[in-house]
């Protein structure tokens, strides 16, 4: 009960956040972090809960962004319709990639997702008739309700906040549902799960589709937030960034993506003073974190802050065993 009140309180504070933030720079960063938060939360279904290796997040992000952008610019459709359409289209592509990769294991799956991502990137760049090619899609309109237009970062923040909160809540519900537990079982031992009656193929595909849904929604939101998208956004490098956010936050935890996304959006900004060295340090930091902190920040929280942890991880049960896993025996 107290927990619920606290969460509501936090929510109210978050809604009021724009009052406290006076810098347009900071609010724009927060908005970007929220978009990334959605994408990385989506990755949780595939990598965190079910333990599959997927690096296709950027592809779904791109598909969602372009679908929404093209629908609203050349299609003249309203954002409120374009968003779900874009997310649905991305979900369908999630099924498309989920289906054939069902048989693939471990890093073969990972490479397949990378290949998929690269093909999508090439199509976005070269199918000029559809996507406007390298020029990108400018002039993506801002959403509006009646005469209230979300044309500043402060206003758009609330759209993003609502989306992020809803999608996070969804991930909490799913994690504690039969489906979610099935995914966790698949992560532990797919064969055993299958034997116990978990429909592994169907669930794995659903996980992919869900992560694609999140990515697509985030893509639509991003396009309308910035107003301009171009193919050079949706490159493999970006998948790496998302993966780092995911792992650093903590794989399999609900709050992991939140922490990871916020931290890794703000961190490069704080590191601007490092100038030329900042990317090198970033890379090195990733290596060090992967070696020293494989369970991510949430993993540390679970281990060293046992009293704080239940507040962060709602309905905390056994977390995903991804990072704690032993090496797979042959």
């Amino acid at each position: 009960m107290v927990k619920r009140l606290v969460y509501v309180g936090v929510l109210l504070l978050l809604i009021a956040l724009p009052l406290a933030v006076t810098s347009k720079y900071l609010i724009q960063l927060i908005n970007t972090a929220l978009v990334f938060l959605i994408i990385v939360t989506g990755m949780n279904y595939v990598i965190g809960f079910s333990g599959q290796i997927s690096l296709a997040a950027t592809a779904f992000w791109g598909i969602g962004a372009y679908t929404s952008a093209l629908l609203t610019t050349t299609g003249g459709i309203s954002f409120w319709l374009a968003l779900p359409v874009a997310a649905t289209f991305a979900t369908l592509s999630g099924f498309v990639i989920g289906f054939p990769t069902l048989k693939l294991k471990q890093f073969y799956l990972g490479i397949a997702t990378v290949g998929f991502g690269e093909i999508v990137a090439l199509i976005l760049l070269n199918w000029t008739a559809l996507t406007n090619g390298a020029d990108g899609v400018p002039g993506i309109p801002k959403p509006a309700i009646g005469s209230y237009v979300f044309d500043t970062d402060y206003r758009f923040y609330h759209i993003l906040l609502v989306a992020a909160v809803l999608l996070l809540l969804l991930s909490v519900r799913i994690k504690n549902s039969r489906f979610g537990r099935g995914l966790l079982a698949i992560c532990e031992d797919e064969l055993a799960a299958e034997v116990m009656g978990v429909p592994t193929h169907w669930y794995k595909m659903m996980a992919f589709a869900l992560s694609a849904f999140y990515g697509g929604a985030a893509g639509s939101l991003y396009g309308h937030l910035i107003g301009f998208i171009s193919p050079d956004l949706f490159v493999f490098r970006q998948s790496i960034v998302f993966l780092c956010m995911f792992m650093i936050g903590g794989s399999g935890y609900i709050a992991g993506p939140v922490i990871g996304a916020i931290l890794l959006t703000l961190l490069p900004e704080w590191m601007r003073f490092l100038k030329g060295y900042y990317m090198a340090i970033y890379g090195l930091a990733v290596v060090v974190l992967a070696i020293g902190m494989p369970t991510g920040i949430m993993g540390l929280a679970e281990r060293y802050l046992p009293r704080l942890y239940p507040w962060l991880e709602p309905d905390a049960e056994a977390p995903a065993t991804l990072a704690q896993g032993r090496a797979e025996e042959a």
Binding site: Q28, T32, A134, F228
Partner: protein, 398 residues
């Protein structure tokens, strides 16, 4: 819970620390330098050109300051990194404009210009850039944008004209990169060829930047019977590999490339493979224009290298801003200190002065704003001889 509150507190502190209330006083404010903001490629894959651009800015700032600055006030350049990406450019721009009361703003790259366009419209800062995509003028129509290099449409016209009228070639092939520059340039060149000469390229080859092998594209062009190639690409490694394979595969035809083909970096890499090709370049070393020669001399003295077009227009940008600021009367001396117009007024006045620029004698040429607020209207055609770009002709567009 504590975690959320803690995070919130951190964010609030961040906001407090980073938020700057711009000095929007209604009177003239005392300043100790005239601020120009630059979002530049300091890290990431474009860091090389970022460094070259910076040299242009700094050389100009030095010269301006040593000859009195803006009515006595020295110029100061403030840099933010764009990390070579569009989101980085957006973040860097937001940060710069939120924290520094800059009067003028400099950015680069057509996609970045597109990405920050809504921000500039909101913030109303005069923005100068070298990005050459024609769509910036035709689509965005941003009154705060000022282009400081010749746009791709005009460059394409020169390229096409040279091919047909000087080299007398009619069976042309296109070789261009799959990016804004390459695609835009190709489109404009093909359009000009069609409109003016009723010619269509006999073959068109597109490549993704970073490709290491162009055998397929070059063979296709070779077997199409073309007698000349026009090429659009900014990446110097791509260009160097193209030229090397162009020579190796025995393609015996004329080759005219966009500016990057004649830049110092590309020539270094391509070596003798570049000999004999043409390029539409921003300037020619043998052009006797006094301001150009002075700039070449100063650059060589300071950096012990030959300059490039990357250093040229960036040099002229800073000089032009200083000149426009003087004309707009943004800065005044009061006693022993300097005062500057309130920021919104200063920016509007600077923009107005830029729009009214007529015949400002920069190093590259005379700058005059046309109806699209494109400022410079001359180019050179050069031919590479013994690894150096030699002037063929200098062309004035208006």
């Amino acid at each position: 819970m504590k975690r959320w509150i803690g995070l919130l507190l951190v964010l609030l502190c961040l906001a407090g620390g980073m938020a700057v209330f711009p000095a929007f006083a209604a009177e003239w404010t005392p300043v100790d330098s005239f601020l120009i903001g630059v979002v530049n490629h300091m890290t990431g894959p474009l860091a090389l050109t970022g460094e070259l651009r910076k040299r242009g800015h700094e050389l100009a700032a030095e010269e301006v300051n040593s000859s009195g600055g803006v009515a006595g006030l020295p110029i100061k350049l403030v840099y933010e990194d764009d990390q070579g990406t569009n989101p980085g450019a957006v973040a860097g721009t937001r940060k710069l404009l939120a924290q520094q009361p800059v009067v003028a703003f400099i950015i680069e790259r057509s996609t970045m210009v597109n990405a920050v366009h809504p921000i500039i419209q909101q913030e109303k800062v005069p923005t100068l850039f070298g990005a050459t995509a024609w769509s910036i003028s035709s689509e965005l129509k941003n009154p705060w944008f000022f282009r400081m290099r010749v746009d791709d449409r005009a460059t394409a016209a020169i390229m096409a004209k040279f091919l047909v009228e000087e080299l007398k070639k009619t069976k042309v092939a296109a070789l261009y990169a799959a990016d804004v520059f390459g695609e835009g340039g190709n489109k404009e060149t093909a359009a000009y060829l069609k409109e003016k000469y009723n010619l269509t390229p006999v073959n068109s080859q597109k490549y993704t930047s970073g490709t290491k092998d162009y055998t397929a594209q070059l063979l296709a062009i070779k077997s199409s019977g073309a007698d000349a190639i026009y090429a659009w690409g900014t990446n110097s490694e791509d260009n160097a590999i193209i030229l090397r394979q162009f020579k190796q595969l025995g393609l015996n035809m004329d080759f005219i490339g966009s500016a990057a083909y004649a830049s110092a970096i590309s020539l270094d890499l391509a070596g003798d493979n570049a000999n004999g090709i043409y390029s539409v370049y921003d300037f020619a070393f043998e052009d006797t224009r006094p301001q150009l020669q002075a700039w070449i001399k100063a650059y060589r003295a300071k950096y012990k290298e030959d300059p490039d077009f990357w250093n040229l227009y960036t040099y002229d940008i800073v000089k032009l801003v200083a000149d426009a600021a003087k004309r707009a009367g943004i800065v005044r001396k009061e006693g022993d200190r300097f005062v500057q117009m309130p920021l919104p007024e200063a920016r509007a006045a600077l923009a107005k002065a830029l729009r009214e620029t007529k015949g400002f004698a920069g190093a590259q040429g005379d700058y005059s704003a046309d109806e699209y607020q494109n400022m410079i209207h001359n180019l050179a055609v050069v031919k590479i001889d013994n690894r150096k770009a030699k002037m063929v002709k200098v062309i004035k567009l208006k």
